[in-house]
Amino acid sequence: MTVVIGFEGSANKIGVGIVRDGVVLSNPRRTYITPPGQGFLPSETAKHHRSVILTVLREALQQAGLKPADIDCVAYTKGPGMGAPLVTVAIVARTVAQLWGKPLLGVNHCIGHIEMGRLVTHANNPTVLYVSGGNTQVIAYSERRYRIFGETIDIAVGNCLDRFARVIKISNDPSPGYNIEQMAKRGKEYVELPYTVKGMDVSFSGILSYIEEAAHKMLGTGQCTAEDLCFSLQETLFAMLVEITERAMAHCNSQEVLIVGGVGCNLRLQEMMGVMCKERGARLFATDESFCIDNGAMIAQAGWEMFRSGHVTELSDSWITQRYRTDEVEVTWRD
């Protein structure tokens, strides 16, 4: 039996999860929610994480019914993400690893999402669409790397949605993306937006600028509703994501798609991806918000795989990094 505790705090969620041989024993989490119209900034987010991390850690141990002595390895997010929140979480991980006399393990956040998705859905060798507030990538596994087939050339899809939510003052509670999804269901008119797929890559910043301007003009004059804009934005962004995912599947001869990351719990995205999969005779795998959205268990799960295949991180090498690409990690735990 191998028990790994995982610490995650690269963005506005702070989570601590414990995994024992493929079973999630606990996975408590807190979210830093900002007022409508405001995003989360690094230092305030770090302050939030700092104020709750020890409580979340206590909860993780209590809910799992474990003592520190039962843990085999302490995993934490090394990057990518926001510097200040990453440091806050890494400091606690380093301290408890030393207090408890356990090895430490730095985990790539993106790898955490992929391994958690594989564990929960039992997808074998899927083409992965990783979509969140900070990342947008189409990934396929080949020869010991999660290789990036396509990605955003500017902002992440979740960032595009979040920033649009700020423009029209949609609530950030529980998340701007969730609220856009609910409003989109009531949208009636499709407002045409730029569609910017560039080969295997996508671009969202121009769409954001366009819809910001459209919002100011059209909402004032009553030409369309906020719901129409939410609907139009989702349809456009998700169609682009489905297109590049399908192209990656064709390249790799893949019959499975796994959607991970915070935007991955959007049911409209899952529905659109499902239609494409059905047409190709492929299978779609997705998870709900407990595992799609950043959480500690995903870091524990990737850490479990890494630890079992012999990885540990020396304290002197345990620095965090804001940039850390998915394909930098050698995947030693898969064939």
């Binding site: 700092r50 520190p68 510097g83 806050t88 207090l99 304290l315 002197s316 620095w319």
Partner: protein, 97 residues
């Protein structure tokens, strides 16, 4: 906790700040050192920070060009130090190796 600040290094024109933090034992001092030293200063130039442990104390020494930069670095270090101390209080004492 003992602090000193001297600006008398006129030749270099640098600000210096040093901090001494006592711990219950050398083990805790070493844990704090290893928890706080891996991450480099986010700023590229204008400041350097050196951490070391001697006996049961953690010692930190800053050299900076400007007081503004020094204040930010010391402030953030103290926040991180407080987090380490709280973590030790709640999840310590360290196991015997």
């Amino acid at each position: 906790m003992a602090t000193t600040c001297n600006e008398d290094d006129h030749k270099l024109g640098k600000l210096e700040f040093s901090l001494l933090v006592p711990f219950p034992s050398s083990r805790e001092a070493s844990i704090a050192l290893q928890s706080l030293s891996p991450d480099r200063e986010p700023r590229k130039g204008g400041i350097s920070k050196e951490l070391s442990a001697a006996g049961n104390a953690l010692s930190v020494k800053w050299t900076a060009d400007e007081a503004r930069i020094l204040r930010v670095s010391v402030g953030s270090f103290l926040d991180h130090l407080a987090l380490v101390l709280e973590t030790m209080e709640e999840f310590g004492p360290p196991v015997t190796l």
